[in-house]
Amino acid sequence: MSNQNSLAVDMQGITKRFPGVLANDNVDFQLKRGEIHALLGENGAGKSTLMKCLYGLYQADEGDIFIYGDKVKINTPNVAINKGIGMVHQHFMLVQPFTVAENIVLGSEPTKNNMIDMKKAIQDVEKLSEQYGLNVDPRAKIHEISVGMQQRVEILKTLYRGADILILDEPTAVLTPQEVHELIEIMESLTNEGKSIIFITHKLKEVKSIADRVTVIRRGKSIDVVDTADATTNELANMMVGREVILEVEKSAAEPGEVILEVENVHADNDRNLPALNGTSFQVKRGEIFGIAGVDGNGQSELAEVMTGLRKLKSGKIMINGKNITNYSTRDIIESGVSHIPEDRQKRGLVLDFSLFENMILGSHYKPPYASGVNMNYSSIKKESKRLIKEFDIRTPNEEVLAKSLSGGNQQKVILAREFNRNPELLIAAQPTRGVDVGAIEFIHKRLVEQRDAGKAVLLISLELDEILSLSDRIAVIYEGKIVDILDIKDATEEKLGLMMAGAESETVVEGGE
C-alpha cells in the first residue's frame, strides 16, 4: 500500500465477449478504499463476468485495470491474489472432502520441512476466525457444515491470502435471514479494518442497509453510480431494469376450492439418516398459495423431496386429487399434475452440460410433441424452447448453448419456464426467486398468483419471510419437521411468524402478546 491513491480498484472501459454475447460493454467501475460498493444489475447483466475479469479468471478483451493506482494485467488468479484481491464466488469453490483448514490454505500452504504445517494452518485459521468473529471449526469437513459456514470459509480463504479488496458475488442468495444479518456484521468489521468490498446482490434492502455506493449495470453497460443514501429502493430497481418495477405483489383475496394436496403424518429421514420430518400434516386447496415458513434445516428440503418422489417416506400418506401417491416414482407424480421448482438449481434443476432446449423439456421429454414413439422431435423442442426463452425473458444468445454458460439467475429462469410450462395442478416452488433480479421476481410472483387465480394450487417453500408474507394466502410454520401452526394471511405478522419459527406455539405467541 505504498501508493496513497484513494481508489482501490479502477476498471476502465472493460469489454468482454463470449461467443454470441457481449457480456461487458465498455464498463467503468471504481471502488474506493474502505467502502462497501454494491454492484447491481439484472440476471445476465454481466456482474459476475466483470468480477471474474478483476480476479483473473477471465481476461477482458479490452480495457485497463488499476489497483491502488498501478496499472496491472491480471491474467491469472495468482496475480489478483498477489495484488490483495480475494473473491467469494456465486457458486462456492470448496473441496468437499477436505477440512476447513485445508481448503483455506490450499495453494498457499504453510510448510515445515517440506511438509504442510497443519498445526500452524489450524492456528492461523483460528486466529483469523476469532479476529473477525467468524466462528468456524478448522477441523470440520466441508460437507459437514452448513451453507452459511461454508461461505465464511470462502471469506476466510481470501483473508488468509491477505486480501484487502474483497469481491462477494451474491453472498446472501443462499443464506438464511439470520445468516445474512451475521454476514453484514462481518462485512462491517472488515471495512473497519480498512478493507474494501464489492458486494453483488439482488436484494435492494441489503444494498440500502450496508452499501456506501452503488454501480448499476444493465445489459453489459454501466448505467450509473450513485450514493446509496441518494436513491430509494424503487429508484434502484428502475435503474436496473430500465422500467418501472412494482416491488409489492398485487393480488385479490383467494377463492379456495376443494383440497388438492393432503399430507398426512409424514415421517422421513434426511441424508444423514436422522429424522427430518416428524409427523408433518397439512392440506392445500385449489385456488390458494400455501406458504411454508421456517428457519432453514427444519425439514423444508425433505418435505419438497418426499412430495416429488425424490425421497422415501418412512410412514404417512400423501394424496393428490384424492389419489394416494405415497412413494410413487417421480414420473408418476409429474403425471399426476405436479411440478417442482427445486431449491438447488444446479443439483436438482438442470443438467448443466445439456443444452438449453434439452433442459427445457426434461421430464416431458417422452411425450408428444417432444417425442413421437422412441424418436425425439427436435424441431418442435427447439421451437417451444425459443418461445419460452422469449416468454420468460431468459438472457441467452440462443437455445443451443449449454445450461452452464448462463448466468445464475437465468439458469433459474430456465427451470421456472419448464415447470410452469407443464401447466401443473399443483406447483411446488422451493426458493423460486433465489438469485433472480427484481424484474424477474416481479414476473415470477405474478405468474404464481396467476396460477392460483386459474384455480390451481401453489405450495411455496421459502426462507424469505417477505416473500411468504406477500404471496401466501395461508402460512404454515415448520419447526423440527412438524407444522407448528397454520395461519391465515390476515392473522400473520412478521413478529408472530418469527417467534413460531423458533418453536413457539401460536397460542403462547398470542398470550405473550397480550
Binding site: 479468471l57 469453490m93 495453494g107 498457499s108 504442510i116
Partner: protein, 307 residues
C-alpha cells in the same frame, strides 16, 4: 507345513510387487482426476524395454532405467491426449493398451526373429538385508527378495507422505476433486495433472521392469496379462490411498501365490479359477459398498475446461 507357509508369504510379496507399484501410479493419476487404464500397456512396453536394456547393455539396472524412461514417455502420450486434447480418457487408455500389445510383439520379432519370447537376459537378482535376514521366519519371508520388493515398500511410504503431508499432494487431490476451486486459488490444474500422470508412468515403468527382469529374466509376449487392471482394482479396493493399495495388492498377491502353491502340490479342492477371480470379486464388492464405501475423486475422468 511351516515351510510351505513361508514359501507362500514369500511368493505373495513377490507377486504383489508389480501390483503395488502400478497401483501407486494409479493412485497418483486418479487423485489428480485423470483415469489411466493405460497402466497395463505402459507396463507391457516397460517390461519389454527393461529386457531390451539389459540385453543390449548387459546391465539390468540400465534396463530398469530404460523401462522408467519409456514408462514416462508413454504416459506423456496419455497426458497429452487426455489433458491437453481432452480426448476421452478411457479411449486414450485403450488405444495405448492395444498399441502396446502390437508394438512389443513387433519389436520382439525385429530384435530376436522369434515369436513369443526373448532369450534370457541378466536380471536384477536379489538383495539380502543383513539384520532382518537373521530373524527367524521374518527373515525367510523378507530377508532375501528381488530389489523391487523393497523399492515398492519404500515407495508406498514416500507416496503416502507426498500425497497426504506435502503441499504438492494437497494440490493433486484438490485438482482431482474440484479443479475450478484449485484454479481459483492459483493452482495450475493442467500442470498438476501432467505431473501426476507422468508420475504414474514412472511407477508403471518400474512395475513393468519388476516383471520381466525381476520376477523373471525374459520378456514373454503379453506377459503383464491384465496386471495393470488388477492394479487398478487394488487402487480402488484400497480407496485411492497408497497404504490401502498396498494391502489390497498383498491380498491379491496372496490369492495368486495360493493358486500357484495349490497347483504345485496338487491341491484341487478350490479350483484355481476361483482364486484368480478373487481380486475382481473383491473389487466389485468394494465398489458396490458391500465392504465399506469407496468413492472416487469427484472430478475423476473429467477434462478441465477453463471458461
Amino acid at each position: 507345513m511351516l515351510n510351505s507357509m513361508i514359501a507362500l508369504l514369500n511368493t505373495t510379496l513377490r507377486m504383489a510387487t508389480p501390483l503395488i507399484l502400478a497401483a501407486l501410479g494409479g493412485v497418483f493419476t486418479e487423485r489428480s482426476g485423470v483415469i489411466n487404464i493405460a497402466l497395463e500397456g505402459i507396463m507391457l512396453i516397460s517390461a519389454f524395454m527393461a529386457m531390451a536394456g539389459s540385453y543390449l547393455t548387459g546391465n539390468p539396472w540400465l534396463g530398469v532405467l530404460t523401462a522408467i524412461i519409456f514408462g514416462i514417455l508413454v504416459s506423456l502420450i496419455h497426458a497429452i491426449l487426455s489433458i491437453s486434447l481432452k480426448a476421452d480418457q478411457i479411449v486414450s487408455g485403450t488405444a495405448i493398451n492395444i498399441f502396446a500389445t502390437g508394438l512389443t510383439a513387433f519389436l520382439l520379432r525385429v530384435m530376436f526373429e522369434s515369436a513369443g519370447q526373448s532369450p534370457s537376459v541378466t536380471d536384477v537378482g536379489t538383495w539380502t538385508i543383513p539384520i532382518i535376514n537373521d530373524i527367524p521366519i521374518i527373515g525367510d519371508v523378507l530377508g532375501e527378495q528381488i530389489p523391487f520388493v523393497y523399492i515398492a515398500l519404500i515407495l508406498v511410504a514416500i507416496s503416502y507422505w507426498v500425497l497426504f503431508k506435502t503441499p504438492f499432494g494437497l494440490r493433486i487431490r484438490a485438482v482431482g476433486e474440484h479443479p475450478a476451486a484449485a484454479d481459483s486459488v492459483g493452482i495450475n490444474v493442467i500442470k498438476t495433472r501432467y505431473i501426476a500422470v507422468l508420475i504414474s508412468g514412472f511407477f508403471a515403468g518400474l512395475a513393468g521392469a519388476s516383471i520381466s527382469i525381476g520376477l523373471l529374466d525374459v520378456f514373454v509376449e503379453n506377459m503383464t496379462s491384465g496386471r495393470g487392471f488388477i492394479a487398478l482394482a487394488a487402487m480402488i479396493f484400497g480407496r485411492w490411498t497408497p497404504q490401502g493399495a498396498l494391502l489390497a495388492a498383498l491380498l491379491f498377491g496372496f490369492a495368486d501365490a495360493l493358486q500357484m502353491l495349490a497347483q504345485s502340490i496338487g491341491l484341487d479342492f478350490i479350483p484355481r479359477q476361483f482364486l484368480l477371480m478373487l481380486p475382481y470379486v473383491l473389487t466389485i464388492l468394494a465398489l458396490t459398498g458391500v465392504i465399506g464405501s469407496s468413492e472416487p475423486p469427484a472430478a475423476s475422468g473429467e477434462p478441465y475446461e477453463k471458461e
